[in-house]
């Protein structure tokens, strides 16, 4: 991509091809001989990291599409089947879901790097604009991908975001109907989002090619912001940049794996484990963390159309950056004022993200308006003004001078800014959890779970006892429809043999048919059957339960959570605490009180529960001491029952948890070895370049 190459293969077959299609020459001049500034720092490795992330998302996405069903009635179930039944399906899904977050994390670092070092300035304007286009495409792709699991957040996210277009004057309603393919978000919407979610990544890949092409025409910017002048200023891309990039990628994979194997649901919303329900909106609609700053801008404008314009404007304004900032000095390193305003801008963005996850009320609205003003002021006032009044420090004569001048002392600001960014990133990532509904219920006490932590395993005894409690108590009202009897004999589960699972299944009557006479009939359950539901449909369940619908329990431990608050959610990131669901379920089972506190008016047919949001629950106290007989000597108390059945339900929510943690350990050992080796290899390669 940087003109004709003098590369000539020696192999006659390759020579024959090369004369007709000079592809090897192209690759050689683009990725081997290509001169790269020798003073690039690690912020420049994010280009390689992003390329890798795009590849990872496309590969895992194509695979997931092999197993996914884009239908409103089947999508949620098909995602669960991927996670439960497909070989390594849980791994592929975790990679793809966390991968989206990691992709955005990397792209934000990449963008801030471009902003700091003035990488959008002449002659790189087109390169920068192509980047903005890629970012817009990523946002569209990420949004549509989030809709596909068809959980509550998927559905309501789709509803809210598509409704943005209803702000368009005159045509708004027609546009929204066109987007939906119906009168509301429904099956046609899901189908087209699936189609577009599959298409757009390839469009992104195409624009990335243009982006890289433009990069190779203009040449890379560098921390000094001066163009290479002599051969002393550059090193060949391979091995110098490739080794450095690979080391960067390897470090990034360590972070990525932390989420894939140990915190797969940290970046997601518990509500998305509840199947989409067009009749109930979750109390707090929150987009994925990477949209939060723009969501905050949208909400801070009191006018609908103006809010939508501001939100899109906040992204589009990036494309005009090359003409808003006309300062001749590129790198903020030599711009004392721009440097400070840059960091203020970073903080503004993070605070906007934090606000995006807060309810739009009271002081948050005012803060949102102030920060929205600051956001736009940075582009429209600060940068144009600085271009005129700022007196930059002298830039080095050449890149070689810059490298020579650098000795020690340089690492400290890098490290401290890295730490600041990590902390800020954690704040932003975690802020999403801040918006979860808490109501006025107290936080459930944190329990000690055998399955918690990086080496946690299920307690087999608890799983078997919990199954008994489910079967004898919960199963009279609650279904367990994602769990099959065969699962009871699978590795990492309650530890029954296949024969025991078959015997357990045969105690159930399962509806089958039609037979040769065309009639439905009942037969004993088989291992391949799923736990039968206690009610034939939702209406029957509601009639039998005073109007309330007892939720399916397969995923209940992942579908329930509670607010952790700052700074706990940042701490959780490191301690791998993710047992909000089990803590809540166990607390709920024990949280019944015979008499509501004075002043609390309990509605007819409800019961008082300390931990239930709103306290009035339709489910009567389900467990009493001595209710279920244990044959292994465990105490037959409500506390023990709750703990056992919650453990069992954690297993039903994630049957492959043990496999996940075990593979995670192996992957970490491998990645640490690889990273260390790459570090020394990179050091050796660069030894003669410094």
């Amino acid at each position: 991509m940087s003109g004709p190459s003098d590369f000539q293969p020696t192999n006659p077959a390759l020579k024959w091809i090369e004369r007709r299609l000079p592809i090897m020459g192209l690759m050689h001049s683009s990725f081997v001989a290509y001169p790269t500034p020798r003073n690039l720092n690690y912020w420049w490795t994010f280009g390689a990291i992003l390329s890798m992330m795009l590849a990872v998302q496309i590969i895992t996405g194509v695979i997931l599409a092999m197993h996914y069903t884009p239908h409103a009635d089947l999508a949620f179930k098909s995602v669960e089947l991927i996670v439960r039944d497909v070989n390594y399906g849980w791994l592929l899904r975790n990679i793809h879901a966390s991968g989206a977050s990691m992709f955005f994390l990397a792209v934000y670092i990449h963008m801030f790097r471009g902003l700091y070092y003035g990488s959008y300035k002449e002659p790189r304007e087109v390169l920068w604009i192509l980047g903005v286009i890629i970012y817009l495409l990523m946002m569209a792709t990420g949004f549509m991908g989030y809709v596909l699991p068809w959980g509550q957040m998927s559905f309501w996210g789709a509803t809210v975001i598509t409704n943005l277009f209803s702000a368009v004057p005159y045509f708004g309603e027609s546009i929204v109907t066109l987007l939906w393919g119906g009168y509301s978000v429904g099956n046609p919407t899901l189908n087209r989002f699936f189609s577009l979610h599959y298409l757009l990544p390839f469009v992104i890949a195409g624009v990335v090619v243009l982006h890289v092409w433009a990069l190779h025409v203009a040449g890379q910017n560098n921390p000094a912001g001066v163009e290479p002048k002599t051969a002393k200023d550059t090193v060949p891309f391979t091995p110098y940049a490739t080794m450095k990039d690979m080391f960067g990628v390897s470090c990034f994979l360590l972070l990525f794996s932390w989420f894939i194997f140990y915190m797969p649901n940290y970046l997601g919303e518990a509500d998305n484990y509840i199947p989409a329900n067009p009749g109930v909106t979750p109390p707090h609609i929150v987009p994925e963390w990477y949209y939060l700053p723009f969501y905050a801008i949208l909400r801070s404008i009191p006018n609908k159309l103006a809010g939508v314009i501001a939100m899109f404007g906040a992204i589009l304004i990036l494309a005009f950056l090359p003409w808003l900032d006309t300062a001749r000095t590129r790198s903020s390193k030599y711009r004392p004022l721009a440097k400070q305003f840059f960091w203020i801008f970073v903080i503004v963005c993070i605070l906007l993200g934090w606000l995006g996850a807060k309810p739009a009320e009271g002081v948050y609205v005012i803060a949102g308006r102030v920060l929205t003003f600051c956001y736009f002021a940075y582009f429209l006032i600060v940068l144009p003004l600085l271009s005129r009044i700022e007196k930059p420090r002298p830039v080095p004569n050449s890149i070689a001078d810059d490298v020579l001048a650098k000795s020690g002392g340089k690492a400290a600001p890098m490290v401290s800014s890295l730490i600041a960014l990590l902390f800020a990133g954690g704040l932003l990532l975690g802020s999403a959890s801040d918006a979860r509904a808490a109501g006025d219920a107290p936080a459930p006490p944190a329990q000690k779970w055998s399955f918690a932590g990086p080496t946690g395993k299920f307690d087999r005894g608890a799983l078997q006892r919990g199954l008994k409690v489910y079967k004898e108590v919960c199963a009279s009202c609650h279904s367990l429809s994602f769990v099959a009897f065969r699962n009871l004999a699978e590795a990492g589960g309650p530890g029954y043999s296949m024969a025991q699972a078959a015997a357990f299944a045969s105690e159930y009557k399962v509806k089958d048919g039609p037979n040769d006479q065309g009639e439905m009939f009942e037969r004993p359950g088989r291992p391949a059957d799923y736990f039968p539901s206690p009610f034939p449909n939702e209406q029957a369940a509601r009639v039998a339960n005073g109007g309330a619908y007892p939720p399916d329990l397969s995923l209940i431990n992942k579908a329930r959570s509670y607010k952790r608050g700052f700074p706990l959610f940042v701490v959780d990131l490191f301690t791998q605490y993710q047992e909000q669901g089990p803590d809540y379920v166990a607390a709920l089972l024990e949280g019944y009180e015979d008499k509501p506190p004075a002043g609390f008016k309990l509605p007819e047919g409800s019961y008082y529960n300390k931990y239930f949001p709103g306290h009035a629950i339709k489910m009567p106290k389900p467990l009493n001491d001595g209710q279920v007989a244990y044959d292994d000597g465990a105490p037959t108390t409500v506390a023990q029952y709750s703990k056992d059945v919650t453990t069992f339900l954690m297993w039903t929510a994630e049957p492959h948890m043990e496999a996940r943690k075990q593979l995670g350990f192996q992957v970490f050992v491998f990645l640490i070895i690889l990273t260390v080796l790459l570090y020394f290899t990179k050091k050796k390669v660069w030894a003669n370049a410094h």
């Binding site: 040769d516 391949a528 990645l671 050796k684």
Partner: protein, 176 residues
């Protein structure tokens, strides 16, 4: 800028490069494994492929039924005396895929022929009671099978395969 190592004298640098490359290669290979493994049948498909039981009482002599096991049609034929004799009279050496009828049915249950009803040529489903041999005829490319499901003429290379099955009782078989 000289990175070339002296040939024949491995250096510590060479060792480091080789080690890094080897570890990276192992990682790449290990990454491919789950990406390929996911293509295999998933756990629910495997569980649904469990053995099935077929009641033979409704099948009259000379009749046959088609049942599905693991998504494949299984022909269960109740053969007549004439059909059994036809199958046993033929000279084994003259068959394209030599096999005795006795080897294709269960002793004591000679009247029952159980075969996977998929033409061994290219996977079409043959039609029962058609063709010159009173057995099966594949409409796609004209393969003809006899009353024992053995290939007699046409492009199919081998006999219709016999699935794993056993008699649970005189009137019930378990396939799988």
């Amino acid at each position: 800028m000289t990175t070339a190592s002296s040939a024949g004298h491995p250096t510590r640098r060479d060792f480091l490069y080789v080690a890094t490359g080897a570890v990276a290669a192992v990682g790449a290979a290990a990454t491919v494994w789950p990406l390929v493994s996911q293509m295999n049948p998933d756990a629910s498909t495997v569980a649904a492929g469990a053995p099935i039981e077929v009641d033979l009482t409704p099948i009259a002599e000379g009749q046959d039924i088609k049942v599905f096991w693991r998504g494949k049609p299984i022909f269960v034929s109740h053969r007549t005396k004439k059909q059994i004799d036809e199958a046993r009279k033929v000279s084994i050496a003259s068959l394209p895929d030599p096999q005795t009828d006795e080897a294709r049915v269960k002793a004591g249950h000679e009247q029952w022929l159980v075969v996977i009803g998929i033409c061994t040529h290219l996977g079409c489903i043959p039609i029962a009671h058609e063709g010159q041999y009173d057995g099966f005829f594949c409409p796609c490319h004209g393969s003809q099978y006899d009353t024992s499901g053995r290939i007699r003429s046409g492009p199919a290379p081998t006999n219709l395969p016999v699935p794993p099955y056993q008699f649970v009782s005189d009137t019930k078989i378990q396939i799988g």
